[in-house]
Structure formats: C-alpha cells, structure tokens
Amino acid sequence: MTQPELSIELTGLGMKNPVILAAGILGTTGASLKRIAGSGVGAVITKSIGTIPEKGHPNPSLVALECGLLNAMGLPNPSYKEFNDELATAKEGDVPVIVSIFGSHPDEFSEIIEGLEGADAFELNLSCPHSQQYGAAVGTDPVLVEKITKAAKTTASVPIWVKLTPNVTDIVTIGEAASRGGADAVVAINTIRSMAIDIHSGYPILGNLYGGLSGAAIRPVAVKCVYDLYRALDIPVIGVGGVSKWEDAVEMMMAGASAVQIGSAIYDNFTIFSEISEALFTFLKSRDLNLGDIIGIAHKKVKQ
C-alpha cells in the first residue's frame, strides 16, 4: 500500500496539506499568523485589509450561540500601509500567506495589491455580510465581481482567489463572474446574514444589530454551495463553513473542494489543523486513496 500524499499544489501554491486558516480568524497580527503557521496548517489567510484604517463595528461584535458564532466585526484593519510589517512577520512562518483584501471599487483592490509586499496570493473578500459598502455589497453584483477580479488579476503577479457570499439567490452566477474575470480559485462560503436578540431587553445583541453566522450550523449550506460551484466551474473551489472535524473536511472535499478552510472551530481547539490533517491522512491510507480520489466524488455517484 502506498502512502497517501497530503501535500497539494493549489493555484500554483505548494502546501504541505489542504487545511487552511480562514480569513479574519486570529489574522490581525503577523505574530498570531506565525503561531498558527506552526500548528500544522497548510496555509494561512490574513484578516481582510483595506485602503484606509477601519475601527470596525461597535461591540458586542461576536456572540457564541449554541449552533455557531454570530459576528459583526466590521472589517477592523489598520490599512495595507500599516500591514506590511505584520505580513513580513507572518512570512517567517514557513507556510504560504494569503492576504485577504476588500474594497468598494476595482481601483481600490489594485491599490492594495500594489501596496503590499510578499503576499503568496490574494483572496478578494467580496462577501462580508455586514458591511455597508464593502464585501457582499459588491459581491452580489456579477458585473462588479468580474471587473474587480479582472483588475486584481491585471495588477497581481500572484494567484487571485475570490471569496463568495452565500447571501445571493444563485452563488453559481457570481462564481462564473469571478471565473470570467480570471480568478484562479473561488472560496465558498463567507458567513450567512443573521441576527440574535436579547430577550431580557429586546436589544439586538450585536453592536451592528445583525451580522454573519459561521460554525457547524452553516456547514450543510457550504457543502451545497461547493457542490454547485464545482459542477459549474473549471477552476478549483476551496470549501469553508463549519468544518470542525476531519469528517467534515472529507465531506467538503467530496462535494468538490480542493482544500478546506477552518475558522470558528479554533474557538474550542487550537490544535485543530494538525488533528484534521493527520486524521485525513489516516482516512486516506486506510482506504488506499489519494486526495484526488475523493475531491468531487459525490458528483460521480449521481446521475447528471
């Protein structure tokens, strides 16, 4: 029996395994990213970075519900100008560092890409559900998605991943727009628009009133989005949403994900990345399979 190979090449980036830290989770500082890089992850993604400093939404900005995390951070970031130092530190971590970026206009994406040195790839955040002018506000319009992707592709010399919002009628339309714009991969999904209310007072809990849901509750939604995108697109799909166990990672890959990202699950488990990639290895080995054998396998089991 041969050993399964966990290392992958994804949009030209070499990774020792297909388990990636999702954007906005412990990605504020270089030191934090470096710490996670040392915990068995295949690659890390930074907090989303914009053109000007943002304070984010007022607190409370996150609440842990029984079914998942509800957050409205509001894209706090010090701007790309202040982020170069953090990026340099993150790069000491020996895994690819993908910089998540956001903006409201194609030119802003180009400005950030030009202003940041050393990113191994960029992930365009066209999907934050609780920002007035950024994120999903642009990510629901296929024309704008194509333009932004094209602008980013033209400016960047590294791969461009486009992160999609599930808060649309048909995610495939948006995925196709990204693909037309030249995206090297799409990432699905960002959080799902949602809300929680304090029954003692009637106040919405989040400072921003509503936010985005992540964690276990959204996994079946993410699996379906990945499934649909895999079928429609020729570029790799990266799956994210509610992965907290190796079984979840396998499921996401069977739906069509070339790699998975993990965010919320780090909440109760800091060693999750090495645990999942080790268990993935054991699973593949026990069945004499390779990663390529499971990616998108669900599509082969159904009559098209």
């Binding site: 504020t28 500082t29 304070k55 995390l69 706090p76 809990i205």
Partner: protein
C-alpha cells in the same frame, strides 16, 4: 452563550473615579478571569470580577462612564467568565496593585488567605483618595501604600516600595496595574531572577473575548490576552511587547 442578564443591586463609590457595581448573580469564576460587560446600546468591554458578584470600574471613556452612572435596578449583560485566571500557588505572596488594577487582585487575596498564605500587599495610586480596596485588602495581609504625590504612604512609584523587601523570600508575585508600572515591576523582578515567580494580568483591546478574532494578540508569540491570558507568567512577558506598544482598535501599533 448569549449575554446573561445581571441586575445592579448596589453601587459603591470607591474613589472619585472608581465605582463598584454589585449585581444579583455570581458568575462561577476563578480570580483573574473576566466578563464581557454589555452596556446595551453603548458598548461591550472586558472587566475583571472584583468580588464573585461585582465589577469595579474606572471612568475613562463612554462605556466606563455609562457604567459609573448606573443605579440599583439597572441591568447589564454579561458574557463569561472567560480567560485563564491566576494560578494559586505559594505561601509567601506579594500582591502588587496599581489603580483599578486592584480589581482582579482582591478576590485573589481572599482566596490565598483562605489557603493560609502570608501576603504582603503593595497598593499604588496617583493620590491617597484613589487608593482602591485599601481596607478590604488589609483583611488578607499586610498592606503598604504608595502614592505618586506622597499624600499617603510611600512617596513615589511602587517599585521604590518593592526595594524595601527581600524579594527572594517570596514564592509568587501577583501584579496588575497600568502597563508602564507592570513593565517596571517585571524589570525589577528580572534583575533578581524572579520573573518565573510572577503572574501579570494584562489589558488589551478586546472584541470577541473568546480567542477567535485576534484583536488582543501580543507579540512576539501571538498569544491571545483574552484566551491564553489575561494572566501570564513574567518569563513569558520578558521579551514581549509589554510596556513597548499595544494595538488600537484598527490593529495599528501604538507606542507607549
């Protein structure tokens, strides 16, 4: 968990700038853990528990101002308790408290006293009227005060008071106060090779409070003050950003 509702039972003006709010619930916490205090419609901020059922707030901005003006019957939301809390260990103890930093150290002193520890408390503030919990601390051990203006006790910074002790005779130092004070204490302990016998409760800007968002991480190891801390041993902090810089709400470095 959603925030739990806590109704204010009693409000105590401790000093001209510091107020204790006693509420109707007792979060099951160990000393040094904190709660995220939601002032509905205003903000949510981390606060240490100063007693099993209280927080003690210094007025510095919007959130703390609103809390300071609360009346019995008003309510707040509490998430937590979160964070690691102090490790209770040793028999000969020095507690070093500056300003509102005395808040997490008071329940610690009570618990250590129950374990029959011999405790010296060094309590510092700008001026005598701002000394916090002087009487309550005195019940747990021997207390010495230091004030910047000399209006009570030792005239000067708290490290000057530390100088008067044989530091090597202590098993553990517990410290909380303004950042530059904590740095000075750490440096002094380091000169004596005692940093591994000290625990510091740190203070950074928090958003999530549960170790997910990354706003509170400190250099150079990326430790999360809200989850890996807020209490850290001195040897871990020695070569850290403590006393050099912190990050503001955007994540930008601000030098002290």
């Amino acid at each position: 968990m959603k925030p739990v509702n806590a109704v204010i039972k009693e409000v105590i003006k401790e000093t001209p700038t510091i107020t204790t709010l006693i509420f109707d619930i007792k979060p099951d916490a160990i000393p040094g853990q904190f709660v995220m205090v939601w002032i509905r419609g205003v903000d949510e901020v981390p606060m240490a528990l100063s007693h099993p059922n209280s927080i003690t707030v210094q007025r510095v901005g919007d959130a703390s101002e609103t809390l300071s003006n609360m009346k019995p019957g008003d309510s707040i939301g509490l998430r937590g308790p979160f964070g690691n809390g102090f490790e209770l260990t040793g028999q000969r103890i020095m507690i070093i408290a500056g300003g509102v930093g005395a808040a997490p150290l008071l329940p610690l002193a009570h618990q250590l006293r129950l374990r029959d520890a011999k405790i010296s408390i060094l309590l510092g503030a700008k001026t005598s009227k701002e000394l916090l919990f002087e009487e309550q601390f005195s019940r747990s051990g021997e207390l010495k005060a230091a004030t910047d203006d000399g209006s009570k006790g030792y005239h000067g910074v708290i490290t000057g008071l530390m100088d008067k002790y044989d530091l090597n005779s202590f098993d553990m130092f517990y410290v909380c106060g303004p950042e530059m004070m904590m740095r000075a204490v750490l440096d002094m302990l380091h000169v004596n090779g005692l940093e591994n016998r000290s625990q510091f409760s740190l203070h950074r800007y928090f958003k999530c409070g549960i170790g997910v968002c990354g706003s509170c991480t400190i250099d150079p190891w990326g430790l999360r003050v809200c989850k890996d801390g807020p209490v850290f041993y001195g040897d871990i902090l020695l070569n850290s950003e403590l006393g050099k810089y912190h990050r503001d709400v955007t994540g930008k470095k601000i030098m002290f």
